[in-house]
């Protein structure tokens, strides 16, 4: 049967994606099961020969949103000058606090997982799909069901929100107060 041949082999990828979205193994189990049930019931809508993994990711993301009751319509905005200024302000803060090298010098693994749970939808899903799952803008647009421009603006803002969280983590971890390190980095 085509469903068995084309959809079931992606269960590992769907599980990993569900884990990325939910950050919880039990929740991921539920999302994977619902994803496959919906996929099976909607199999007639799948276009043979198209990217089945991407199709399953789209369903998975919708199941996740429905499970969190976050599938509310959102107002989409292009990346504005204010967004750009806010991104610039994040950098200015990093410089002022001596944190401009923090991302490349600290082990941010735990902080990234924590930050991903804190940033709101729809920015969270977009950051996960592009920055964690390494999908292209085009693929993200298809999974999210939005135009590429929307992916771009969500990503811009989502990355800034992530960076604000990660800089807070670096500051709390004392990265900026190591004796002589700020001066040493600035003189390097």
């Amino acid at each position: 049967m085509a469903f068995e041949r084309e959809a079931l082999p992606w269960i590992d990828d769907v599980y990993r994606f569900a884990l990325s979205l939910t950050r919880d193994e039990t929740d991921a189990d539920d999302v994977v099961q619902d994803t496959y049930l919906r996929a099976y019931r909607s199999w007639h809508t799948y276009l043979p020969g198209s990217d089945c993994r991407r199709w399953l990711f789209t369903i998975c993301r919708n199941v996740f949103l429905r499970s969190r009751e976050r599938a509310r319509p959102t107002v989409e905005l292009e990346a504005t000058d204010a967004d750009a200024a806010a991104a610039g302000a994040v950098y200015a803060t990093a410089v002022r606090e001596g944190l401009e090298d923090a991302f490349s010098r600290l082990d941010l693994g735990p902080a990234i997982n924590d930050a991903l749970t804190r940033i709101p939808e729809p920015f969270r899903s977009t950051v996960i799909i592009v920055d964690v799952e390494d999908q292209s803008y085009e693929s993200a647009a298809e999974i999210l069901g939005v135009p590429i421009g929307t992916v771009r603006s969500r990503l811009f803002r989502g990355r800034r929100l992530m960076q604000e969280q990660l800089l807070d983590y670096a500051k709390d971890a004392g990265f900026n107060v190591r004796p002589g390190l700020v001066e040493q980095r600035r003189n390097a």
């Binding site: 990993r16 099961q33 504005t80 000058d81 302000a89 994040v90 803060t93 771009r152």
Partner: protein
């Protein structure tokens, strides 16, 4: 954070900051990419900002999940649920 977001950012840099992720993600056409690169070559502020974005990108890449194998109970659960709605392998 500054009292207003604008006080921290030189006005000439705002457009480039808006495009810096498109630049890093290879989303700009060659003309636009060249304009951004010229600005980056001349502007230490925006080069620093670009370095911060690259640091973020590399940190995110470092935590990308390794290939995951779905546990056996997930496969069994999915197959059971599918069987309930008429699927047979």
């Amino acid at each position: 954070m500054p009292e207003t977001i604008y006080e921290a950012v030189p006005a000439a840099c705002v457009e480039v900051i808006r495009q810096v992720w498109d630049h890093l993600d290879d989303q700009l056409c060659s003309d636009d990419a060249e304009v951004v690169q010229l600005h980056l070559d001349e502007c230490a502020h925006c080069r620093g900002l670009e370095r911060l974005q690259i640091g973020y990108r590399d940190a995110m890449r470092a935590v990308r999940p390794r290939p995951v194998i779905a546990p056996w109970h997930i496969r069994a659960r999915v197959l059971d649920a599918l069987a309930d709605v008429g699927f047979s392998p």
